[in-house]
């Protein structure tokens, strides 16, 4: 069975909007809603669900249609960069699916969204039509506020739809990428300068780890700060290394880690790497883990039907 994941990011944290958008996904059969989180500071809703390609595209189109109807970007404020109401919609191979399957899904979603709702759509990641468009930050430069102007530039012509921002929903970015880990670490300081400094030490473009993007933000209701990270390859850059570097940098300011959390689902292999490191197990292969070995053997038919 081929399964893909979709993680649409919508520019809202209004609980009523959230309910309606999530409701659209739940209505579609054959998809499993894994998770959704939203918060006012980012003013952003991140949803994660999986299924076969057809069901996944159908569900995200329905949810996106409602989001376009409900969200007005002209009054949107939030700490996370965004280009539109349906800001970014990545498709990710999960099981027996390839990245090309996900590129196909992104193209189908993008084409349909542009046709139905007159929202211009950019392809990014593995689905990008030009090298610079692989980078979501390049596409999102200037954010929603600059979109009406930027989209007129020839090099920024959208992949689907007319080069004209939707009056309330802006533009949408969709594409395909490998699974990544969203990981947030909370610091016991309200001083966002410290969080931002540590985030810079981690960030790929600032000399940090090549597979990490990091931002430092406030969580004012808890009087703490957070380092929000996305890690595009947690096999190359394991979580323990990131965590220990945060500890090291935080120690300069006598700041400690409060706790941490995955943003979305946790990839199992990223957790096994952490366990192996702290337990000092040189080689903890998945074949040596009971539940994983048993599952593989069942699938191979080792015990008969």
């Amino acid at each position: 069975m081929k399964l893909i994941e979709c993680i649409p990011n919508f520019s809202t944290s209004n609980p009523k909007h959230v309910n309606v958008i999530i409701g659209q996904i739940k209505q579609v059969g054959g998809v499993l809603l894994l998770d959704y989180t939203y918060d006012e500071y980012y003013n952003r809703l991140v949803v994660s669900f999986i299924g076969r390609t057809g069901s996944v595209v159908k569900a995200v189109l329905k949810a996106a249609g409602k989001a376009i109807e409900l969200i007005d970007m002209n009054s949107h404020e939030g700490q996370h960069p965004r280009l539109g109401a349906v800001d970014v919609v990545p498709f990710i191979p999960i099981r027996n699916a390839s990245i090309d399957d996900c590129v196909e899904a992104a193209r189908e979603f993008g084409r349909s969204l542009a046709n139905k709702h007159q929202v211009p759509v950019y392809l990014y990641g593995a689905a990008a039509s030009k090298p610079e468009r692989r980078d979501i930050d390049w596409i999102r430069r200037g954010e929603y506020e600059a979109l009406a102007r930027m989209i007129k530039k020839p090099e920024r012509k959208p992949d689907f739809g007319e080069p004209k921002a939707h009056p309330t929903a802006g533009a949408t970015i969709t594409g395909a990428r490998k699974i990544m880990a969203g990981f947030n670490v909370n610091l016991d300081t309200p001083n966002v300068k410290i969080a931002k400094k540590i985030a810079r030490a981690l960030h790929a473009q600032k000399g940090g780890f090549a597979t990490v993007k990091a931002i430092g933000v406030e969580i004012p209701e808890k009087k703490i700060t957070q380092i929000g990270m996305s890690i595009t390859d947690f096999e190359k850059t394991p979580l323990y290394r990131i965590l220990e570097l945060i500890k090291l940098e935080a120690a300069r300011y006598n700041v400690a880690i409060v706790d941490s959390e995955f943003c979305g689902m946790a990839p199992l292999t990223s957790l096994l790497d952490v366990a192996a490191y702290y337990l000092k197990i040189a080689d903890l292969s998945e074949d040596r883990i009971m539940e994983i070995a048993v599952q593989k053997a069942i699938e191979k038919g080792e015990f008969g039907d």
Copy 2:
């Protein structure tokens, strides 16, 4: 599909014996050999395999028959306590099987072994016929050397077979228990007194953790020592707590941990606890881990057939 595990412990580290014994298990269809390890210091072979009850009992009976034929306990020396050639044979529920299924398997194995090979058999753990026999150490008191004398005592009458030690194979202990973790931590000191002191600090009967048995031994070929542990309930006593206590006690002697290893298969949940502790994730439930959630959903038929 009901699956159980069997972890027979044989009193040999002779590579020729090991090959013959393992060969017997491999010959039986429908069982999956997970692991086998043996070493001269313990002079012991520990095998782990899984399958449906019928196949598992068949395989361990064949292997035990060969071990009884090959091993002479009268010339056996080793650091691990032992009562016979086929020293202990636990059955463990792995998937959709209950502890009662494993008690049944142990009784079937014990009865057959006693009948075929005239080896007296004791039932232990959840299969024990009397409360004191739940404890393998009680059954094994005096080890092989005292068996001929001990077995005559009315309270030590075997559960299967005559109260008479087999002249070369001694006696066998079999039973049912929950899955446990075998976990060894290596210390960078050749001084076994230190390893033994730390092992005592961990051991349930010496004031340590209630679910841990620990011994300190030498690994002379590496000039290090090892704390060998079995943890009967790693949910109550997680590995990180054990590891950090070892570090704490070892620090008194300026001794560091070289590395650690699972003895046998690693239980997945024990690793997730470790990852969650060091990452400071308050609640890392299995439903939040991608691969596990996807597998459960497939089994539930969430995505159709």
